[in-house]
């Protein structure tokens, strides 16, 4: 099927066409606002539904990794478990501690969820399917990402609880450190695509040679960038192995200790939605967004590819959670500032070299060699100096 085939165009653009059809019933003056509202409603319905499904898959996936079954009583294969969880969260008593700062305590989950939802506005979920095609789309996404840090801090502070405050401080420190890594690894993509607009970045990757796509992950700097982006994404969303701020065995529940019922559900929702949006951004930047993996598969609708890559990233997150032990706060910060950040800066340099060496096998050799040597060297240095080893105490000796 070629790209102009009408069946392909319909299936690929089905949501856009549905939207146009729904809007055609309204007078012209209302169409822009109604269009935006419709798209927003679609996002607000789809991603929480995906969140519900992900909670079940996470629990079942983790269960299978740990030699046990996950939930399997509610509905076939436990698939209706999120409904039970939702009813539970909605009907639990909402306890606010007496000395807590009521206004800030109430606003923290609201700010979190709003900031996270805003990030979805720029993700291109299919051909012509980004809610807003902004010129500075990537910058908008990161701006919304940093607003979540404020919500985390608000939650921890307003609870008037040492554990919450500790958890919030740790979470904010971790998020700020890894935000730098996230930004730097995305900057290489911006350098090569020449634009901050996410739709243009995807279109720059939507070319094929010998049937293989030009996704950035298939280049040396892109592969390194993707690994660092993945590490930073895991840390940004407070997922294992970087989940010390909400470590259940460490800090009770970190910054959301004092939240119960629906507000806790909102935090949970915010965390998973942040995971979705950061995975979405990762697929857009490195995995080619909505473009198909092989030339002969371009007849499959673009939104299917986007969501499959998104779910694949989610499964990798779940896999990592089931495998790795938690990193201690100082190990986490050391790792960010002393290992990942220098690699990121080197990656920028390597991306520049890639650009200026021109097409051919030489740039592949040079760039891969630089990155591999640097990684091996730094890794060997870290392990030899015992940096990744037992802790030395400042006061206890």
């Amino acid at each position: 099927m070629t790209i102009e085939n009408p069946i392909f165009v319909t299936s690929d653009q089905i949501f856009v066409l549905l939207r146009h059809w729904a809007l055609s019933f309204l007078p012209a003056a209302w169409q822009t606002i109604a269009g935006v509202l419709l798209s927003v409603a679609a996002i607000v319905c789809i991603f929480p539904a995906l969140f519900a499904l992900t909670t079940v898959f996470e629990r079942k996936g983790l269960g299978r990794i740990q030699n046990r079954l996950g939930p399997n009583r509610v509905g076939p294969f436990g698939l209706l478990q999120p409904i039970a969880d939702g009813i539970k969260s909605l009907t639990k008593e909402d306890i606010v501690p007496l000395s807590a700062d009521a206004a800030v305590h109430f606003l923290a989950p609201v700010v979190l969820v709003v900031a996270v939802f805003m990030g979805f506005a720029v993700l291109p979920m299919g051909r012509n399917m980004a809610l807003v095609d902004m010129d500075a789309g990537l910058l908008f996404y990161f701006a919304m990402g940093t607003s979540t840090e404020l919500a985390v801090f608000m939650a921890g502070w307003s609870s008037r609880n040492k554990y919450s405050l500790l958890g919030a401080m740790r979470a904010v420190a971790q998020m700020i450190s890894y935000e730098v890594v996230l930004l730097l690894s995305s900057v290489t993509v911006v350098m090569m695509a020449g634009s901050l607009s996410l739709t243009k970045i995807v279109e720059a990757q939507n070319h094929y040679s010998f049937g293989f796509p030009h996704w950035y992950i298939f280049t040396p700097w892109g592969c390194a960038g993707f690994v660092m982006y993945a590490i930073a994404a895991t840390a940004e969303t407070n997922r294992s192995p970087f989940d010390l701020p909400e470590g259940e065995s460490e800090l009770v529940a970190g910054y959301h200790t004092e939240y119960s019922g629906f507000k806790f559900a909102l935090f949970f929702l915010g965390e998973y939605l942040a995971m979705f949006s950061i995975s979405g951004l990762g697929t857009t930047l490195f995995l080619g967004g909505w473009s198909a993996p092989f030339l002969f598969l371009t007849w499959v609708p673009s939104w299917f590819w986007f969501f499959s890559k998104l779910m694949l990233s989610i499964f990798v997150f779940i896999w990592l959670r089931g495998t790795l032990p938690r990193l201690r706060q100082d190990q986490l910060m050391n790792f960010a500032w002393k290992f990942v950040l220098p690699m990121c800066l080197l990656n920028l340099f390597v991306a520049g070299i890639w650009r200026f060496l021109g097409d051919g096998w030489l740039r592949w050799m040079v760039c891969s060699a630089i990155l591999i040597v640097a990684y091996a060297g730094m890794g060997w240095g870290e392990m030899r100096r015992g940096k990744i080893g037992p802790r030395s105490y400042r006061y206890a000796e």
């Binding site: 700062d101 800030v104 010129d135 500075a136 940093t146 607003s147 840090e149 401080m169």
Partner: protein, 166 residues
């Protein structure tokens, strides 16, 4: 002067007023964040996308957190015993009015001098980038050196504390 402008202006002014009038210092910091957000939205209203998002990214994402950490790690989070108004509020009011008058005179004077443009051209990020590494590369490098010096200084101060305790 559209309705949106008035709303955003009201938001920014309310945030700024709350930041100076509230008793709890952390509440003041959060109100300041609201004022930053209002400013960012004003930038976006003027089609300055880069400035607006950079404002959110830098001010709300970094400066606000910095302010809040500073309040928490010092004794600022306790409510002040004497109240929020100082005894010399009249002098302060006079000085503030004077500054406002000077700024207002400068802005209104400049409207008369500058030509009124009908259509404001949208500045793209590409143009900003080109300007930064073309015409304004020296200020960019100086700012970079300044930031590096600040970071090195912070690390040295923190390290000296550690050695001082040992």
């Amino acid at each position: 002067m559209s309705f949106v402008f008035y709303m955003l202006a009201a938001l920014s002014v309310t945030g700024a007023l709350a930041a100076v009038l509230l008793k709890n210092t952390v509440h003041c910091a959060l109100a300041l964040t609201v004022a930053f957000a209002g400013l960012a939205l004003l930038f976006l209203d003027l089609d300055a996308q880069f400035a607006g998002f950079a404002q959110i990214l830098v001010y709300i994402g970094a400066v606000a957190i910095l302010v809040v950490f500073a309040i928490l790690l010092t004794k600022g989070s306790e409510t002040p015993k004497d109240g929020v108004f100082s005894r010399t509020w009249l002098v302060g009011l006079v000085i503030a009015a004077g500054v406002f008058a000077v700024l207002g005179w400068a802005v209104i004077g400049s409207i008369r001098v500058l030509p009124q443009e009908k259509a404001v051209p949208t500045v793209t990020v590409l143009q900003i980038g080109n300007a930064l590494v073309g015409r304004y590369v020296l200020p960019l490098e100086i700012v970079a050196v300044l930031l590096t010096a600040a970071m090195v200084g912070a690390v040295i101060v923190a390290m000296h504390e550690k050695e001082g305790e040992k």
